[in-house]
């Protein structure tokens, strides 16, 4: 039971990630009508369109006058993450999350983190890649990131067959394992950057209770976006930075109940 409690959110996350892939796969293979399409754009329950808002932004920058369905779908997704989920896409939906989590796990097992040789890149790089995606989309008239996105490759690959896309996924894995810790998701991925920006003011947030904190720092060790936990042991407050993916690993590893999900309503926060 202890193990279950220590991994409750992780299990839930794997469940959502895998069940989405299963539904997508079943839609293609057996015609299930639960979730059709793939992570770029889908049809939920045969009626509700969903679409990747970042892809829609790129396509619009490329000069496309898009169909109503993808526009509505993009609005639905944007509102969901902006109001409720924050950057939850990255840790609850994106299939690459399992790849980068696996690389991270292996890093800890092999103790690669303790090796001196480091590749240092800025976490702000993703915003540069984001800007570049939109600029290149406008210049070339195609959605630039969609041409190279490992996320799309994996998502389509698991549903329709992956081909050499497997090499790209292996690339992400190796980069995260031997290159930079959380290299792809935490530094490069413009989609993560995009969701960091739109999820900044979401309601569901992790909250730190400084009075309970014993400064064991397990949370900052496990956190894939370490800078977001800058308040640990210092102040009781919400994890407010948009880069937090709501993966809840910090909540699980904390033995002192000093971190928990909470509803952030801005009025209350002002009073505190």
């Amino acid at each position: 039971m202890g193990w279950l409690k220590k991994h409750r959110f992780l299990i839930l996350r794997r469940l959502t990630q895998i069940s989405m892939i299963v539904f997508y796969f079943a839609a293609n293979a057996w015609g299930w009508k639960v979730l059709e399409g793939n992570i770029g754009s889908s049809l939920f329950l045969g009626t509700i369109p969903l679409a990747d808002p970042f892809a829609v932004v790129q396509m619009s920058a490329a000069g496309a006058l898009l169909g109503l369905d993808v526009l509505i779908g993009a609005v639905i997704i944007t509102l969901f993450y902006a109001i409720i989920g924050g950057r939850a896409f990255c840790s609850w939906v994106c299939p690459i999350n399992m790849v980068s989590d696996a690389a991270n796990r292996l890093r800890r097992v092999l103790r690669i983190n303790e090796v001196e040789r480091r590749v240092v890149i800025s976490r702000h790089l993703r915003y540069w890649v984001l800007a570049l995606s939109i600029a290149l989309s406008a210049i070339f008239g195609v959605a630039a990131f969609e041409f190279i996105s490992p996320i799309g490759m994996v998502s389509r690959g698991l549903i329709f067959g992956i081909g050499f896309g497997g090499a790209v996924v292996a690339g992400v894995f190796l980069f995260d394992l031997f290159g930079v810790k959380n290299g792809f998701c935490g530094h490069l991925c413009p989609l993560g950057g995009f969701y960091s920006l739109i999820g900044r003011f979401s309601v569901i947030r992790v909250k730190h209770n400084q009075e309970k904190c014993t400064l064991c720092m397990k949370c900052t060790t496990i956190c894939p976006e370490k800078p977001v936990l800058h308040m640990i042991g210092k102040r009781s407050e919400f994890v407010a930075m948009g880069e937090c993916t709501n993966c809840a690993r910090c909540i699980e590893v904390c033995d002192d109940d000093a971190l928990n999900f909470n509803i952030r309503l801005f009025k209350q926060q002002d009073k505190e």
Partner: protein
């Protein structure tokens, strides 16, 4: 000047250098990425689903969701994977493997959420004013016959493509002529009617030669272009362009030679 340790970087210089570094790396990334995009956009030898916008518009509109692929009852459509030499993740088909079966209800087009497949391009308005899907309007490509390898051109009797064509005797017709080699037989050869052919690829699929001698190419690759300066004088509609066309209509004036025509006969060079 005494050679020694250079002074520490000033704040301003450090800032400028960092900015320069950022700009430099961003340029490096942009150049590499651009090169790839340009290369990826350059590939053209594949067929798109019916109702697809022209290739450059298609590429900017397609969100790569695969709903058209899932809707296709014959598994004709595929989403391109790395190494397929088709812009990544976009739908295409290979006629020699599985051609388009030209379904009457065109199930692949309506699910498209982004408008990359446009129902208007494959719809007809009938006399009652209702819009109806019409697969006959599809322009996925055009069939081309290699008359050098098509065995019908050798005088061997084969009409596999003609028979397989969903628009039999419309999109592919049989031309007959005398077989000069034998002197006593006829050549019965297939000819594609460009306006009618939808590019479904049924003919390419059934072609009996080792590598298909009738094959579908995308319009952009297969079609020539006469240019607007040619006007079909025998076509009333085309002739009208004379009135509306702007530009490209300049008159060329060739000066008349001052010499007499007879002089040229007496020319030394003649």
């Amino acid at each position: 000047m005494v050679k020694g340790k250079p002074p520490p970087l000033s704040e301003r210089r450090r800032f400028l250098l960092q900015a320069l570094q950022g700009i430099g790396l961003a340029t490096l990334g942009a150049v590499t990425w651009s090169a790839y995009l340009d290369e990826a956009k350059g590939s053209k030898l594949f067929l798109r689903p019916p109702g697809a916008l022209n290739e450059s518009d298609f590429l900017s509109h397609c969100i790569r969701c695969g709903l058209c692929v899932e809707a296709c009852p014959y598994d004709t459509l595929k989403l391109s994977r790395v190494g397929d030499n088709v812009p990544l993740g976009t739908p295409y088909f290979t006629a020699r493997e599985i051609p388009c079966h030209m379904c009457d209800d065109i199930p692949c087009v309506p699910p498209c959420p982004s408008g990359a497949l446009d129902a208007v391009l494959v719809s007809k308005i009938d006399k009652a004013g209702t819009t109806k899907l019409d697969i006959g309007m599809a322009k996925m490509g055009i069939a081309i016959v290699d008359s050098d390898q098509c065995i019908a051109y050798w005088g061997i009797q084969c009409d596999a493509c003609y028979r397989a064509c969903p628009l039999i005797n419309e999109a592919i017709v049989i031309d007959h002529s005398r077989n000069d080699r034998t002197g006593k037989h006829a050549l019965l050869v297939p000819r594609v009617v460009p306006d009618v052919c939808t590019g479904c690829g049924m003919c390419e699929k059934v072609c009996v030669t080792e590598k298909a001698s009738i094959f579908v190419l995308p319009l952009e690759v297969a079609k020539g272009k006469a240019g607007s300066n040619y006007i079909k004088g025998w076509d009333e509609k085309d002739e009208k362009r004379l009135e509306t066309q702007r530009g490209g209509g300049e008159t060329t004036v060739t000066p008349t030679s001052s010499q007499k025509p007879v002089d040229y006969l007496n020319d030394e060079e003649f």
